[in-house]
Symmetry: C2
Amino acid sequence: MTYRRSALMEERLANNRDRILLATRKLVSEGGFRDAQIAAVATTAGVSTGMIYRYFPSKAELFVEVLSAAVEQEIEILTEIANRPSPAPTRLGAAVVSFVRRALAGPNLAYAFIAEPVDPEVDTARIRYRKKFGDVFKAILVDGMEKGEIPQQDADASAACLVGAFTEALVGPMDPRRTTRATKEQLTESIRTFCLRAVCGIWKSDDA
Amino acid sequence: MTYRRSALMEERLANNRDRILLATRKLVSEGGFRDAQIAAVATTAGVSTGMIYRYFPSKAELFVEVLSAAVEQEIEILTEIANRPSPAPTRLGAAVVSFVRRALAGPNLAYAFIAEPVDPEVDTARIRYRKKFGDVFKAILVDGMEKGEIPQQDADASAACLVGAFTEALVGPMDPRRTTRATKEQLTESIRTFCLRAVCGIWKSDDA
DNA sequence: TCAAAAAGTGAATAAACATTCAATTATTGA
DNA sequence: TCAATAATTGAATGTTTATTCACTTTTTGA
């Protein structure tokens, strides 16, 4: 054989893959899956369309990987909050605020995460990830109920409701461009209050 | 002129239109907008594809009309509940339960209402209708706050959260086919509890 | 019954994209 | 430098559907 991948080449390949993922993520963040056609991804990543198929078997799998990476990162952050030693309501509020702040901060995948992707394969993944997302909140609820910090309730239903509540409040009403910092903080606070009261009955204000 | 529409003909035309709308609604209920291709709609309605374009300028406008009719009917029911003389929390709980029960009862547009349609034109309509939907709940909240039945809160945010909460709880977790009547009632109750506590702090149980 | 006008049909057209692949360029080790 | 191999390209292909339109059938009023 007169060809074997050098370390440099290996790196360049990995680089290409990352560039494609990044480009996809960017497009999806800005305009949803709708705007992330293969041609657009290729242009944004600075590669050819054929290139993309060297790294990903199909558009659907590319989308799934983008979604998965985004959700896993998000879940990691929220899990850290969920495992803190503070009281369950405090952790829950902190988790909600953490997610909402990031979502309001700039273009992100929140919308694509909620919305229905065109592709059934991606859709399946999306539902799975939403469920996983809810599980973080469910864990806080279950823990809080055990410790008597949160009243008894249907943890599955409450977790789903929580996820629905703060995602809807984010997607629906706001044009992200015409929103000041203060308005955003106000909305964040309103959502936190809603979510805390929803599961605790009473709103507690301590941050974390 | 040797042709003018007779009353009978007029009726048949209206009938065709309705059949097309009904067929679209059926397909969307069962498989989302994805499954409602013009060809499928035509077959289901028992007309030709060309026919559809005699009654609707485009697929998008057909979809919007289906969505609009469904939402308006839903809003009418909920508005009636919102205008009852009972205390605001009672009305709110009743409205939530009313919507959830219908959604769980069988194939319906709940999913399509929440999910992202493929077409931007339909998407715009969808967001508008979701907002309208939230307004019914907002009205109950505002009224309840005035009467001191509901604690002061950001009515816009709470309304959005409510809509998100009960729609998510409906779409996410359940396979409608593998769910018993009892389970459905249980879920309905869990959602009601969540929503009531979310805006009132305390859960009251009276039906309506 | 007849001709004008409209309703109705569905095969053909068109547009939008994902995917492929023959050809080209780059990399590697000898 | 060279041949072998891999990476890369982007025009061509295939697919999926909305939409159109030339043609057929039905309806209407005289």
